[in-house]
Symmetry: D2
Subunit: 432 residues, 4 copies
């Protein structure tokens, strides 16, 4: 399904006068801080965030799931949904698949389809944290109940390795160039496992998978402190993740999910550390108040998001570079929202935080820091954060033919109604 | 299925010599603190913990479920499993049902069956946190997606009220005398809901249900800070719970689940507060490290469990009493353990903590507190906690014909094998 | 010391052209949401925040203190500093004293002095959490080492009661009309204290003090989960605080300090609860990331501050009112900032959050909530938050003759230099 | 002051009959698990924990300090106090000094004095987190207000380096062989500092200090997430600490303080990681419920302490060894206890946890883990933990001529009274 862009322009035009006035005044203000609004708009346009296939359907908690209507049931429909998101936002141009939920039966066909929407295939996600959710057995018929790569049973570890190699194969056919490995491995009770043996088993498996990757591929490992294991997790923190990445190979990088941290963690400093070690894979964006809540990006802690982008802009505009391009992905789960609206809100929040961080006057900030001007440094960051840079984000979107206000446009164009008309009300999406 | 008790005695007898020596020496030691071991053994025997029907099958996280074999598929089989737990532990003599997972088609038959195992029916649990998990519609065909009793839509609230009245009806037929209300109601995002309207709607619904309860019934409300809602929960903390209970009626009491607290909460002081207000319903026992992890009782924070029982013993041995008997229930979920073993471990941990708390010399403790003897008060508690009172717990069990070591006996008697032989390996339990 | 306002006007005038353009455009935008900018400006002007005397000097942690220069050494100098803050910000017009740090030797003189700056005396703070910090003995020569009102020793409790009555006396002479009671009372170790006895002792003391208050006075009690006691605190949470307030009397109200909550607490919902119970005293504003960090208001979690003001505006613009005016106070401690700059930043952040909350279109928000429009409700709040309403705050300030940008003006006018010239570099402030 | 050992024996003898019976029965029980009680007793005796000089006086929070009587005012008196602790417990035989609080004017004399008590000098602690607390200026007259080794000002960094070199010099004269570096360095507000520059400055300083250490010395760096900085800390977590240690040199090791972790951290797994990387310096033992509460060891989370010792015993009894001996130190602060009692309780708790961990049947545990026997592994650990091994700890103490129950003996011998008689009631100790 593709949107009728004429109607989108109609919707946009209603806000155009105000938009121009706001953009003008903002450009003047930024000028005074020696920030060129045009360049910021271009940078914002360049930031393209991958849409994960599993975020296109209603999410679940362990207490139930409340699916909405018109959800995509096939990989083709998922690609179509991302196409719509691209049209509305101009902020996503790739899809990240999850195996075995999204096995492409015919890679060429699905590549062509994606291409017709201007989409490519982002990082491939493997799954060794549940037995095959489609009811069939795992490849070797062994269960991940007690872990996958950390398992004391060699057969289970081999099965996990093979699954990841299979995922790489799928990805190669689709033109992806990275494998994302999130492991649930750990333990629920003291005494259940030996921490070190678990770590060494995981390390060994990652090395074996790494060897099977094409030379231009990257592996992304992702840490998480707890859930679904509630006593220990093998890749529990950025320290463990960094050890694993370094122990695996040069192209093994650390992925940061914003919800995968203990209470009160200074995530922006964690990001700085990983960048310093030249091991940042990129992000799984979402937001949370309590644990891995998987809420819409920027919905709870927008200032934290800005501070993270402050670190990222410092890196992106700096001289020292890693080999990999940073990977920007959403990883949210919206039990009570229309998934498409949730994603549009998330793209918007990311672009906004990026825009705010791009308008920080870096020389002045550095000066304040060198002088131990505590209040002054704070004022500089807050001024950038408090300035409403939405005109830049909207301009970036509209220059790509997308919406002034994507959620409003989605509603005005009655996209969900069209999807329900086409697909029905009770089509279950695969995945979480 | 009933166990062959002869074999149980054989198993027990192997440990009898050591047991007697330990019990003797412990009794001597307690004597010196003016604690009568016989009385402690009797008190331990009296503590009977309800088994929740949903804990008899393998639990799930949102990341999957790994069911074991021989799990009960019917209410009859669940009752049978609790019967086995009673035989092995002597520590459980009732079952707590969850509607709609355990609708008793014929109440008299199931009552008779339970009776044949020496079991009664404990508190009845309603469910307004998911649409009917069996795929059928809710009574009024309305969804709990946006909450139940807090919902802005009157029809949804009416449906939630009606469901609870139905649950009371089932309970009356089974001889239960309390209704447990845990609500997932809340919101996922700032702006989604008005905190006060949600609270007032819930209060109003509880009042309406309360009016429908028989006069000898109690209502138990249970707070929880988050999950499955990740921004706000209506009954989020003991303060909200107390307001709701007082606003509902004299027989509305506050249930404390050990996993339903923010990080670092001093739960034992919360218990003291609720007792002071004469509103303690009792407990949902489990353990946790991070959030509502639903781990085996006493597996992570055994000293905290002891400190909670310290408060309980003070209440139980004191003069001021509430109208209700305290309700002792397990609420754990064991994804990676045999559910029966998990429950046996939990009963054991509860009895142990109770036994330790019973052997605190209260006069000496009070003396130390009156004298601001900080180290002295600590020493008294630690001495009681460090003393190994397992001989008392074992003796209490064996006097009821149960096992010296229930988990070991469960294994020695190959109970799980017998259950699998009878029921097969892949019978899914209903519920979470 | 009073500032030369001519120079302030010069400083302000430099920003006037841009300010007018911004204010115009913002007013237009708000008009579209049916928000009248003029009214918001007036409301912002009305919000006057009390300055605590102890925030005028450099704060300390237990790891040392790094005092700056020109700090006030006497009550007169503290009043003078608040006068300067009033001139610069127009956002503070009262001072909150702490006894015994600020004992007014001659109440009439200090009242006259304050009056000359346009200042009054806000809530009086008692101190029963440390023995007299000036080295002298406490009134009865008894120590608060093991608590004050919770103490098992009657003499200590009497001393704490008497101290609070003395503080009321000082306050009466100064024209204050409330007493703020924050208690450190609690325990460091399990076994040290009986939770209930501690609570009942505190309750009893508060009642006795309450009886000595004039009939138009209010008592404010303030909860805190931990520090300086690290196992339990008597007034640990809003639930305990509400019980104490209700048990004390109708004019006993609950004060909320933003840093006095366990990790991840939904503070805005706590505020809603206390308002619902008609017991909100007001706020001790500050910000924190980890515990009671006492950082500048709005420096870490500005969105949370906005959400709290969302609740406050709902109350202030609603029909149901408490008897007391809400009390707005800062309670921050700035170890590494110029205290005056810190306070100016805090006033600014409070006004900004208030301004943002005032521009929420309440009818639309209510509509979204009634319709369970989750994304829609979020969008409405975020739009208000993302809109840069600083022009309204600045206008409110300048209409009172204060600064466009108070921190910048403070620096441009070299206020600290003037204070150091007048007072020297090493004058130690009393208090924390 | 030395204790009269005759009286100690009298005290001990009262408990001897019961002790022998308990020790006998316990030895039998351990035999069944193939654990030799004699060997455990010997191992417990070998564990000697250093006493920090600053723990001999009453601690403080930022809310005040309540000193007791008879506290040591000089280094000589501190050494004497540790001598008493050694006599009573047999569990400490060294003292850890803090510069500048404990500058030894004459190293030889103080060494001789220590020697007369059978004491040596443990790790030397530097202080660059406060300006000289004795009121004098820092060596270069520069303040640590904005950090020490992380500071943007080279002179401050040089001063911090020089201070650490001075501390090494003092240590050399006293026979110490390690330097403990805990840094408060960080920031209070976003914008105040550049995370990476701070880290690199600290790294550079540590390298310079490391070069000045004798070749047989070790450097211990210690992480902490927050306090006294409340936004970021340079050495915030074990990941940062490991990077710093590896970046500094082979003999730079990571010290773990039990109170320096974010809420819910799995500390035992952190210990396992650092051991795996061969970088464990040892421990700063204490306990906490909320943050860096500095409570008595084992007073809040005794099971966690046992699980940490489980990791340590695995290391100590294993084949792979680091170059350094593990350093065992207390780092507690007892505001409301007699410091000596607090230390005696801490030694006892450490020995108890060690004893429990030594009686884990490792082969059986390993077997359970290899078989994914979750409940079985838990049972094995819990059995070791629940067994009362205090008879082994008491026996280990008494074989060294120390007390059956050190706190009871301390009281029976009226040690505090003797100290007050000798030193008076109001002698202030130096330090925190």
């Amino acid at each position: 399904m593709k949107l009728n862009l004429d109607r989108l322009n109609d919707v946009n035009n209603k806000s155009m006068d105000l938009h121009k006035a706001e953009l003008d005044l903002l450009s003047q203000k930024l000028d005074k801080k020696c920030i060129n609004a045009e360049e910021v708009i271009k940078d914002i346009s360049t930031l393209q965030v991958a849409t994960p296939s599993w975020a296109l359907g209603t999410g679940a908690t362990r207490f139930g799931r409340f699916p909405g209507g018109g959800e995509p049931a096939t990989l083709e429909e998922k690609v179509g949904d991302v196409g719509i998101l691209k049209q509305l936002s101009g902020q996503t141009s790739s899809i990240s698949l999850h195996i075995p939920w999204d096995i492409p039966e015919n890679a060429e066909d699905i590549k062509d389809l994606a291409s017709s929407y201007g989409l490519t295939f982002d990082s491939m996600n493997s799954n060794t944290f549940m037995d095959d959710p489609r009811g069939a057995n795992t490849p070797n018929g062994l269960s991940y109940k007690y872990g996958s790569m950390c398992n004391t049973i060699e057969g289970v570890r081999d099965q996990a390795i093979q699954h990841n190699i299979d995922v790489i194969e799928y990805g190669k056919r689709l033109g992806s160039n990275s494998l994302t490995v999130w492991l649930a491995d750990g333990s629920n009770y003291p005494g259940q496992a030996n921490f070190r043996r678990q770590f060494e088993n995981v390390q060994d498996c990652l090395q074996k998978i790494y060897k099977e990757m094409p030379e231009d591929w990257f592996m992304f490992t992702e840490h998480k402190p707890f859930e679904p294991n509630f006593y220990s997790t093998v890749n529990a923190d950025w320290g463990s993740n960094l050890l694993l990445a370094k122990g695996t190979g040069e192209r093994c990088m650390c992925l940061v999910d914003l919800g995968h941290h203990l209470p009160n963690t200074n995530i922006e400093q964690v990001v700085s550390r990983v960048i310093m070690e030249k091991r940042l894979a990129g992000f799984h964006f979402n937001d949370s108040k309590y644990s891995d809540d998987d809420l819409t990006v920027g919905s709870l802690k927008p200032y934290q998001l800005f501070l993270i982008f402050n670190e990222l802009v410092e890196y992106l505009k700096g001289d020292e570079k890693q080999e990999n391009e940073l990977a920007w992905m959403i990883d949210a789960s919206h039990n009570t929202k229309d998934p498409m609206e949730d994603l549009l809100q998330s793209f918007d929040a990311i672009a906004l935080a990026y825009g705010q961080a791009l308008t920080i006057p870096r020389t002045a900030l550095n000066e304040a820091q060198l002088n131990n001007d505590v209040a002054g440094g704070q004022e500089i960051l807050q001024d950038a954060y408090r300035t409403d840079v939405r005109p830049l984000v909207r301009e970036a979107r509209m220059r790509q033919g997308a919406a002034y206000d994507p959620v409003a446009a989605y509603r005005a164009l009655q996209v969900r109604k069209q999807l329900i008309d086409a697909r029905g009300t009770r089509v279950a999406v695969t995945g979480l």
